[in-house]
Symmetry: C2
Subunit: 188 residues, 2 copies
């Protein structure tokens, strides 16, 4: 699975300029990634291989969250309430409700969010000036690589016939969404 668009060039400049806001949003993203993995496991415990893959993912994302929170503290920032993420919320409205369709769509939406996040963490790393921050984001972007693939492989496993077609539909919707949404000092 691949993203069908690239992030507009203005995003990375904005994100590097207003990095503290992005960092707070990034913590919320890691928290939601860990919570989503646990929620997938709770909702689909009988899909072979899914619970363990999600448990490992939750562990990894919670570890990233702890690292981002450490950086927040060092910069004297507070986490605050999660104001919500219009990008992820809009994608989630694409998830169909019957159980089999919901499982496939949740896996595909998660794959797309992971791919977009990884693209943006890598872009952010390129645009950060402080060497420590840059190294931190290079490490995180590397660690996140493979998460999109994990969700995509699970999607193909649970629905080998429908996954390519539905994946292309959702990837198209995702690319349009990125084009439509205003740039924010946030990961998405």
């Amino acid at each position: 699975m691949e993203l069908l668009s690239r992030t507009p060039p203005g995003w990375a400049r904005l994100a590097a300029l207003r990095f503290d806001e992005v960092l707070v949003d990034h913590a919320h993203c890691e928290k939601k990634a860990a919570a989503n993995a646990l929620s997938m496991l709770a909702a689909f415990p009988d899909v072979p291989g899914l619970p363990r893959a999600m448990a490992r993912l939750a562990r990894e994302e919670a570890g990233h969250l702890a690292q981002v929170l450490h950086l927040l503290e060092r910069r004297g920032l507070r986490l605050g309430r999660d104001p919500g993420d219009p990008y992820a919320q809009a994608l989630q409205t694409q998830v169909r409700q019957p159980r089999a369709e919901r499982l496939l769509d949740r896996l595909l939406v998660a794959a797309l969010i992971e791919l977009r996040s990884q693209e943006r963490l890598a872009l952010l790393a390129e645009h950060l000036v402080e060497p420590d921050l840059r190294d931190f984001y290079v490490r995180l972007a590397t660690a996140e690589a493979g998460h999109g693939e994990l969700f995509w492989k699970l999607a193909v496993k649970v629905s080998p016939e429908e996954a390519p077609h539905r994946g292309a539909q959702l990837a198209t919707a995702e690319a349009r969404l990125v084009e439509r949404l205003p740039l924010r000092a946030a990961i998405h």
Copy 2:
């Protein structure tokens, strides 16, 4: 903080006898522990030190969850839906609703659940016959030690005056609950 009662001796015999059921329930407990840590972080992001402590805890519990799920798979067991835990549900009804009280009570209830879980994992380890399983539960009980203390210390930090009194009230309620609930082939 200490538990005010010991688990009845019949529990460990039942748990060792119907270990497969306990193992499935244990996976659900680890999942709820990880999800609860993330939920605490989302609900109380402005309590100093709480978000990072909860992120680390979520990472650790998700790691235990992955290990328990691995053991489930090796025994040919399926996770299945979480049928819910009458013990934890009954304790949660004790949580008062105004924000400050809710924070204190959620910390104290989490401390008690962690202490009881640790007691039972250690008891289970003593009663298991297979050396691999016994070692696994000794390791997990050791890893869980300190989680009760973590929640208790946060409780004292956020509410130094009320924590001892309210902690004693809730510990009394917890001990009565353990006495009242029928023994189950489950962690609680």
